[in-house]
Symmetry: C2
DNA sequence: TAGTGGTCTAGACCACGGG
DNA sequence: CCGTGGTCTAGACCACTAG
């Protein structure tokens, strides 16, 4: 278990404070000076904690006025595009049908171009993920063997993110997402229990490790009937 | 013209440095100590600049190792979900057909629920936006008159974001986005020059001002044939 | 014009990566 | 072990909001 930094502890405590006092969007938090005094830390540490909370969409600050709760609007049923924790943390009762696990000497071009000049041997994992028994995403993932040296059907039935971070002790640091909308092929439609030509959101994810290398390229084809997404932008962005 | 903070200047300079030296993804930047010396600022200022660049997906840091370029992958034709600057800054040759401008005493329920207990009088603006003459998004926007007191066809033909930030001198601070995929209605399909039942990505945007209030609720229906999106997550997110 | 957040400094010490 | 980034402090001064 990693030990938390002071500013992470402060951030957690502020989150608790919001929950305990049932603060809603627009409600005011104590001023920085008070936070400094009550947590017995320096102003910079409080600012770091608040900055973290702002990035996560929890609070916003108005200079000269105060710090306010940025209540996430009603997010029921929406999947966050912000988090890098996979789907399991957001959607309930996720199960996975493992369609295939293949070992490839090198991935197809659409994936290879991202791995650059690495050792290219990889796993290809195809899954159909369901929530409450209803298929909601068809998944095709490529994992570099260099970083994911072992993969089995049993592992793939669970959360790959948990496996990677806990089982392999690799840290997923950030991701690039490319998204577009297309019509389902017959094969895809069958798996998702939809009709060919029905709409689908396709998300092409590139996942980066702590060393800055891409280790996982995935293509997710979502069932349009039970997939909604949200994205909270914070300020200071460009 | 707003004067830039020191850390913003440093961030701009580092961005320049990357460009001038043609640094690619994975290339190393000078170490913090060197940046401190060459910019003649304190370490905290450098960190603030780097943190800004990290949020924007430009660099990433590895403790104990260095600071590296996080080259945005090939983003040609992709629209960022990160920025709050509207579409004009990303897509080229944007023109807008203004379909209608209506003044409403109060917006429909799907919008009203976000405005809460404000003065509800608002403009409803419907536009068809085109790039190089090809329709790519159908837009329905609601602006609270309290913050956007005047709107004309001439204004609506240009960038609403420019009008709001420059003409009205209001600052757009952050946004919530809700996204889903659906089939086009006949009316929508006609406007987008597609067929009824064709796929569409719908984005419901809530835009917040510097005072934390929602002033604009928009529904954007994208033409699936010429709309691709990307989203770069930075680390430290949840 | 008082109050609150924002920027910036100088420096101490910690924690991780890689030879 | 050395070099690098990460955390944290104490305090000065700036900039914006709101009554």
């Amino acid at each position: 278990m990693r030990i938390l930094k002071k500013y992470q502890l402060v951030a957690d405590n502020i989150r608790e404070y919001i929950k305990d006092n049932e603060l809603k969007r627009g409600d005011k938090l104590p001023k920085i000076k008070d936070l400094v005094d009550s947590f017995n830390v320096s102003k910079a540490t409080i600012l770091q904690a608040l900055s973290l909370l702002a990035k996560q969409g929890t609070v916003y600050k108005i200079q000269g006025s105060g710090i306010f709760v940025r209540q996430p609007a009603d997010l029921h049923g929406y999947m966050s595009l912000l988090t890098n924790r996979g789907i399991s943390g957001i959607v309930k009762n996720v199960t996975s049908d493992v369609l295939s696990i293949d070992e490839l000497d090198e991935p197809p071009e659409k994936v290879k171009k991202y791995f650059e000049d690495e050792e290219l041997a990889c796993y290809r994992l195809r899954r159909l993920r369901k929530t409450n028994g209803k298929p909601f995403v068809l998944e095709e993932s490529y994992f570099l063997k260099k970083y994911v040296p072992f993969l089995s059907k049993e592992i793939a039935q669970g959360s790959m993110f948990k496996y990677i971070s806990e089982g392999l002790n690799e840290e997923i640091r950030f991701s690039d997402k490319f998204m577009w909308v297309e019509k389902l092929s017959e094969n895809e439609a069958n798996k998702l229990e939809l009709k060919p030509g029905d709409p689908a959101l396709v998300v092409n994810d590139l996942y980066y490790l702590g060393n800055g290398k891409i280790f996982d390229v995935s293509f997710l084809t979502y069932n349009y009937q039970n997939s909604k997404f949200f994205d909270q932008s914070s300020d200071e962005i460009i």
